[in-house]
């Protein structure tokens, strides 16, 4: 079951972005861990799409974590507590600590942003931004960025179906699934690029670059209360971040 929507998607997206900002500013593993355990985890579990979001987080954050571990765990110049000496590389306690901190932050980023993106009511988000008078190209960029995942998934599904109809056998074994993933990648990227160039001229033909304010077919679901809340969130995070950075610099 999809989760019950409480807030306007713009409020949710802003909250996700501000959370990422806070994790960056505070820059402490304890805070990152707290956000992960008390923020991201419940949000994923209550999203109604826990399996898909969990898989997406693993697919995106997994390689990042691995590269961070290899890079900083083996080649950390400031590392002095050597755990294993491999000649050209040294595993140091400092390097591993740094890699863990980085990895934790990246996991929080991907977790927060993917959870927000994959549970977002995109049309409502775009309608809200349009009603608020945002620049249409910015709205399109946000819409494309947030809507990219379902679009890519749909296109990948089409390519896979076409390949299966022509003899591609996708078994249940992980190796077979990996081969199918590799087979779909090149045509998927080419297809998306061709789609994008054709769609650009079609958007133009439907007046997308017209001057003046755009209107929305969907009604405005945003409320004055939430608009005030968004301004307050930005102000609070802005003031807190500035204070934190000043204190950190002085200390």
């Amino acid at each position: 079951m999809p989760r019950r929507r409480i807030y306007n998607p713009l409020t949710e997206l802003l909250a996700a972005v501000l959370l990422v900002v806070l994790v960056l500013v505070v820059n402490r593993w304890e805070f990152s861990l707290a956000v992960l355990v008390f923020g991201v985890l419940p949000a994923v579990l209550l999203s109604g799409r826990a399996r898909q979001i969990g898989l997406a987080i693993v697919l995106v954050a997994g390689p990042l974590l691995l590269s961070s571990l290899l890079l900083h765990g083996l080649f950390f110049p400031e590392g002095s507590t050597v755990l294993v000496d491999l000649g050209i590389a040294r595993v140091t306690a400092e390097g591993l600590t740094f890699a863990a901190g980085m990895g934790l932050r990246m996991t929080v980023f991907t977790g927060v942003l993917l959870t927000a993106a994959m549970t977002m009511d995109i049309p409502e988000l775009l309608a809200t931004m349009t009603h608020r008078g945002w620049n249409r190209k910015l709205v399109f960029i946000v819409g494309s960025a947030v809507g990219l995942l379902p679009h890519v998934a749909l296109r990948a599904q089409q390519v896979t179906r076409a390949q299966q109809a022509r003899g591609l056998v996708v078994g249940r074994a992980p190796l077979s699934r990996f081969r199918a993933l590799v087979a779909v990648t090149t045509p998927l990227v080419i297809g998306l690029l061709v789609d994008a160039s054709e769609r650009n001229s079609m958007l133009e033909a439907r007046g997308f670059s017209s001057p003046g304010a755009r209107t929305s077919y969907l009604p405005d679901t945003d409320t004055p209360h939430q608009r005030r809340a968004r301004r307050a969130m930005v102000a609070v995070v802005g003031v807190f971040s500035a204070a934190w950075l000043v204190i950190a610099a002085v200390a």
């Binding site: 749909l154 299966q164 109809a165 003899g167 769609r199 007046g207 755009r214 929305s216």
Partner: protein, 517 residues
């Protein structure tokens, strides 16, 4: 009023098109641009839509005048650029291939139709009223809350036309707008275009074949090899012998290669009628068929609701048997379940209950790809089917995926391409080809794998007369060679000429069967 005066146009391959073409379209006029594949009709439509292709390396020399304002082009980098936003507010354009025209910013059909006017700042109340009116005219009201990416081909086509009609342009240019539409939808679209014309909108429709009927006063401009060969009234065009330019008339049966008669007669227990070149229907009404290659028993299928208030039509209690040597047409209105039925034949969809047996194989849980040597599938949207970077690689994919060695796969692909007349285009990129050529590449891809059952979704949509006739020959030859063909189609003349039998679907149920007389 729009006037196009083309001295010449060339894509980056340098081949000149539209040399010496002058076309004026007046308010309220209905102009049919007819031409076979490669005749230049899409190029002409794009020029009217203000797309000169200068940013893609095309060279246009001539002028376009819109409402008294003339823009001249000399084919040099200093040529003026047409402002697409301003131009499209007066000239709306519906290109071929509905999928590529979706904004991908809309989650519902209603939003998709509203996309153009909302870009131009039409107030929300008026926007919703306009959308409601156009949706009612094109019978789209029940679909307004559906995801446009999950519509049937005909429903999607109507949505894209509605999105153009709702803009109330001065000139509306449509490239093959009736492709894949059922008879009722064709009439609905024609009525919507008539309503626009009454308000002074000029309508330009590109078609591969001459329509049998059009609004009174309709004018035909026929193109062949990039040059105009006829300009006059439709009834004169129908008598002008345009078939020599590959321009047939809609509703005409396809012509079948006389050479196939021999193959067919060898398999037929009853001699066929005396063969008349160019007109003879390809089917054999009285022949006896071999054992069934396709058996559907009480097949029922439901799409997952996916949160939509009105999910897609599935199938209910479908029984069907298709024998070796038989061609069966699946007919019915848009969204009646034709594509769904076809996709059960190659395992892309699996029945919730009932059974599907193809080529003696009962489809259970085996992978779809394992059935590709038995059933070949032609998708309705060709561009969803092509994914390789050369035509030869594309067509070789099936043989290689089903176990052929590389050399053998390439040989089979080359043979299939020769059979569809594309042998010279092996190294081209599929996306560089015309719509009809891409369709043939998709067909060759199916043929190269050598399946005994062909499942074809709207195979004649958008084809010109020569290609349609070639397709009829290929299908008839496949059936004569012991294969079976199941095709979903709205092309009544093609089905009546080529298929031995038609089944009629409505809301996912078979409502009737008609046997060729």
């Amino acid at each position: 009023m729009i006037t196009l005066d083309s001295e010449t146009f060339a894509y980056d391959d340098g081949v000149p098109l539209l040399a010496g073409l002058a076309l004026t379209v007046r308010p309220g006029e209905y102009v049919v641009i007819a031409g076979a594949s490669g005749s230049g009709k899409t190029t002409l439509a794009r020029l009217l839509a203000g797309m000169t292709g200068a940013d893609a390396g095309s060279v246009f020399r001539g002028s376009i005048a819109l409402d008294g304002e003339t823009i001249r082009f000399t084919g040099t980098p200093t040529d003026p650029r047409i402002d697409p936003a301003a131009w499209s507010s007066r000239v709306a354009y519906v290109a071929q291939g509905a999928w590529g025209q979706l904004s991908m910013m809309s989650a519902t059909v209603g939003e998709e139709i509203a996309f153009g006017p909302s870009n131009r700042g039409v107030p929300p109340e008026r926007l919703r009223r306009l959308v409601a009116e156009v949706a009612a005219a094109l019978k789209l009201t029940p679909l307004l809350d559906r995801d446009p990416r999950r519509l049937s081909g005909g429903q999607l086509q109507r949505t894209i036309i509605a999105a153009a009609v709702v803009q109330r342009p001065r000139i509306l240019v449509l490239d093959e707008p009736f492709q894949g539409l059922d008879d009722d939808a064709v009439q609905d679209v024609a009525a919507a275009l008539e309503a626009l014309r009454r308000d002074g909108t000029a309508v330009v429709v590109c078609e591969p074949m001459l329509p049998l009927s059009a609004p009174s006063g309709a004018r035909v401009v026929a193109l062949a090899d990039g040059r105009p060969v006829f300009d006059g009234a439709l009834d004169e065009g129908l008598r002008a012998g345009l078939r020599r330019y590959g321009i047939g008339a809609a509703g005409d049966p396809p012509r079948v290669d006389p050479g196939i008669a021999a193959d067919r007669d060898r398999r037929s227990p009853v001699p066929g009628p005396a063969h008349e070149p160019h007109r003879e229907p390809a089917r054999e009404p009285d022949r006896e068929f071999d054992p069934p290659l396709v058996i559907l028993r009480d097949v029922t299928f439901r799409y997952p609701a996916a949160g939509e208030p009105r999910p897609q039509t599935g199938l209910t209690g479908v029984n069907l048997s298709v024998s070796a040597g038989e061609i069966v047409a699946v007919r019915g209105p848009n969204g009646s379940g034709k594509s769904t039925l076809l996709q059960h034949l190659d395992g892309l969809y699996r029945a919730d209950s009932g059974s599907v047996t193809v080529g003696g194989i009962l489809i259970r849980r085996q992978p779809t790809g394992a059935l590709a040597t038995t059933v070949g599938y032609l998708f309705q949207d060709t561009d969803q089917q092509l994914f390789e970077r050369t035509v030869l690689r594309e067509v070789s994919y099936g043989p290689l995926a089903t176990g052929s060695r590389r050399a053998d796969g390439a040989r089979r692909a080359a043979e299939a391409l020769d059979r569809v007349g594309l042998g010279a285009l092996q190294n081209a990129h599929p996306y560089e080809l015309s719509f009809v050529q891409r369709r043939l590449v998709a067909l060759a891809s199916l043929m190269a794998t050598g399946p005994v059952v062909w499942a074809l979704d709207e195979p004649t949509a958008g084809l010109d007369e020569p290609t349609r006739s070639m397709l009829a020959t290929l299908l008839t030859r496949h059936a004569a060679g012991g294969g079976a063909v199941v095709l979903a189609t709205h092309d009544a003349a093609f089905a009546d000429a080529v298929a031995h039998r038609s089944i009629w679907l409505e809301d996912g149920r078979i409502r009737g069967t008609s046997t060729a007389s």
